[in-house]
Assembly symmetry: C2
């Protein structure tokens, strides 16, 4: 595995790979790698000749009140994991390399970013789409792989790639979970022992929503009510949102129509740690 | 010359060209071609193997009050001119092909777009940068050529390409003028006989500014005052703005420092027709 920090060196590499007819897959990450990220590298390997993993803790997607400074960073550990999962190139640029001053260009997806995570984190997706547009231009990939855990992020990036005609296929890999169901996330490392012990309620509540929908429940208020009751029973959990939305538009639904694909998603705080989880269900 | 209307067909062509190691140059236009556009095709020919001209009257860069509906369109004439100048591919997509609904992604350059044309046309550059980002992704060029007549547009596109790491070199071709000095523009066709007769005052005022700056004048107010006097002497001219700005930032200057590169620019209406012109001068 080759480690690269400069955009010019990366560009030389990808242009040579393309000239040689190699198919490039990219897995953009913020590091603090876990099995979820590594599963995306394996998906990229299956569908391309050369896998580039990028590690960049992107300042523009954090609000001033968020955890940019404290976000976990351990490059040596990440490099070992990326290599073991089969990455060929690890691209780790500096903030200055990615955002040379005076920086002033932003990519914004309008409707999809106003709901769910976007409502709680109003400047977040503008940072995500901007850095992903940049990383796509830097790595010139044929495919780019993102995780389903960040369901809205995946939808927003897919919309951006389509709207701006990026010559890339966006692939979304399934959520990888701990044995007790907790969706893997770099932020799980922030949890205290007691918070960690309570956190599997999130995936249990998501499973409960799946059971209800597959069993014929059509009222979102009933589904959300059940999830709320489950989560609120945990003393350390504080609900940010629980949503049942049309997957295509991310618009909240009051009633579920048969045949519709819906996204059930939530954000819940345990102390200072904000966790998200979701599932996509087709209404029977 | 091959004429293409579909993005998928264009993509197949450019991917094959790239696989074959051909250098691609693109000249994005809104059609209504004149010698200015054709000079850009010749510049692209000199610096690439295959020249793609795009013709698309981009709705998102026109305000509702502007001339989108009446903008001159004559594809047969344009195709003949593009062929004669040496374009290899003419890409002419429909509105629906470029902006399939629901469309919702925009690219915005922040500081450079708030002044000059951006002050008079607040949504204009967002439309320009969005469509140029899309056209760059559709045509995957090594170089893209724009005209200096739209000086701020060229600066904004250059900033966008740099900020978003587009793998393309932006080239800016010089202004092409009519024999009497009027900068070539598709909108010159709107001018009445009398308006056309008065319009060369714009380039004369620009030349006057060059003479003043090269002669040692350092006060922007003196330069702008002289230009204003010249232009106001024409009965049909109505000044939108005259500006002396630092070229790098487009910030207005009160005094010109030696060694600085400045952009002298103006927008003037003749009846309903809004014309622009400019020059770049290094302060002695």
């Amino acid at each position: 595995m080759k480690q690269i920090a400069g955009i010019a060196e990366l560009r030389d590499q990808v242009e040579e790979l393309r000239r040689n007819g190699r198919r490039i897959g990219v897995v953009p990450t913020m590091g603090a790698l876990h099995e979820g990220h590594l599963s995306l590298v394996r998906i990229a390997r299956d569908r391309s000749d050369v896998v580039i993993m990028t590690i960049f803790v992107n300042p523009t997607q954090f609000a001033p009140t968020e955890d940019f400074a404290s976000y976990p960073r351990d490059l040596q550990r990440d490099a070992d994991l990326a290599r073991s999962a089969g990455a060929d190139i690890l691209f780790v640029p500096s903030d200055k390399e990615v955002y040379p001053q005076p920086y002033q260009t932003y990519v914004n997806v309008e409707q999809l970013t106003t709901v769910l995570e976007g409502k709680s984190r109003p400047t977040h997706f503008r940072g995500v789409t901007t850095v992903v547009a940049k990383l796509l231009n830097m790595t010139m990939p044929h495919i780019a792989v993102f995780g389903q855990k960040d369901a809205q992020q995946a939808a927003v990036i897919r919309q951006m790639a389509k709207d701006l005609n990026f010559p890339v296929e966006i692939i979304v890999g399934p959520i990888v979970r701990e044995a007790d169901g907790l969706a893997m996330s770099s932020r799980n490392a922030y949890l205290s022992g007691e918070e960690r012990a309570q956190s599997p309620v999130l995936s249990r509540s998501i499973q409960r929503a799946e059971v209800l929908i597959r069993g014929g429940e059509r009222e979102s208020s009933v589904i959300i009510g059940d999830m709320k009751t489950m989560i609120s029973a945990q003393s350390l959990a504080s609900i940010d949102y629980i949503s049942v939305a049309e997957y295509a538009t991310l618009r909240e639904l009051a009633r579920l129509a048969p045949g519709l694909t819906v996204l059930v998603s939530l954000a819940v705080r345990f102390g200072k740690t904000r966790l998200i989880d979701n599932t996509i269900v087709k209404v029977p």
